[in-house]
Amino acid sequence: MSRRSRLSRWVLAGYCVYLILPLYWLLTLALRSNADIAGVFELVPSNPTLANFAEILTNPVWYQGFVNSISYVLLNTLISVSVALPAAYVFSRYRFLGDRQLFFWLLTNRMAPPAVFLLPFFQLYSSIGLFDTPLAVALAHCLFTVPLSVWILEGFMSGVPTEIDDMARIDGHSFWFFFTRIFLPINRSAIGVTVFFCFMFSWVELLLARTLTGSEAKPIVVVMTRTVSASGMDWGVLAAASVFTVLPGILVVWFVRQHLVKGFALGRV
């Protein structure tokens, strides 16, 4: 096919190298001691050590950070998908007052530069007693993930013929049955893509997560900042922690990869 031209394949190959090299470097850092990292340049670690990984695996603070992060990411994904599904459905099926303006408005919420909004966020969630809970972070991240989820799901659902709705109605199914048993399975791939995007935004976000948590719900990205201290920078542990933070993401992508292609392909294009 004419699509995969030689040029673009070369660019892709080059880009892959470009992507991999920093990741490789991260991995080698994780396998070296701090003195080693700051002291010498070497392509392959000559004194590889697993001490950095051991530190992370044995210190409960790190472990707890992972648990906290995963719990708010999952919560966020759950909330985003479950509120976005009905919204996307009505967007794809009905015309209503202000529908055209709504999506742009949803997106504009992402335009707020986070720095100043941190204090209102903090106060908002403290005032309802959610400060330092995963739910607070999950809800705050909804600001970013919900508009995107609606957009992805709506695109996909618009591609599903309305005849399916009518057919279910004629067959005498309740709306609830139709939606959960017929409509959602059709949109499986889109949900996969949505999950990926929710995961992506929620997992990597630092500022809100930091502001909305104290010690109970402290996420992994915040735990990572402790590697910078008055007695130096703990490169090795930071790198090892980074390697760990990449892993869940890779797992998610691997599991939804089929949906990613399909969901993307049939979705909003």
């Binding site: 007052l97 202000g98 055209r100 303006q101 209102p120 106060q123 908002l124 005032s127």
Partner: protein, 90 residues
């Protein structure tokens, strides 16, 4: 809600916008608009024009504050004229 740091002027400002939005909704339900074309380079609905006039008013204020040393009241006056023009003719 003391933490929201309300002041009277901002409260009035938001109240005005809220009222305007409600009026727009009611109008829309009573007399729905369709896309129409004024001297703006695209077809707009009443809601679109409302948004454009607000955004325009904001930038009139910004320009005024950035470029002139005079009171922002003049800018507000300009902004009201601008909004009127857009809502009516946009």
């Amino acid at each position: 809600m003391t933490w929201m740091a309300w002041t009277l002027p901002t409260a009035i400002f938001f109240a005005v916008i809220a009222v305007a939005l409600s009026v727009l909704i009611v109008l829309e339900l009573e007399r729905p608009t369709s896309m129409s074309r004024g001297w703006l380079p695209m077809a707009t609905t009443r809601g679109d024009r409302f948004f454009i006039s607000l955004l325009g008013a904001a930038f009139i204020h910004l320009l005024w504050l950035g470029l002139t040393p005079w009171s922002a009241m003049y800018a507000s006056g300009l902004a009201i004229i601008w909004s009127g023009v857009i809502m009516a003719k946009g």
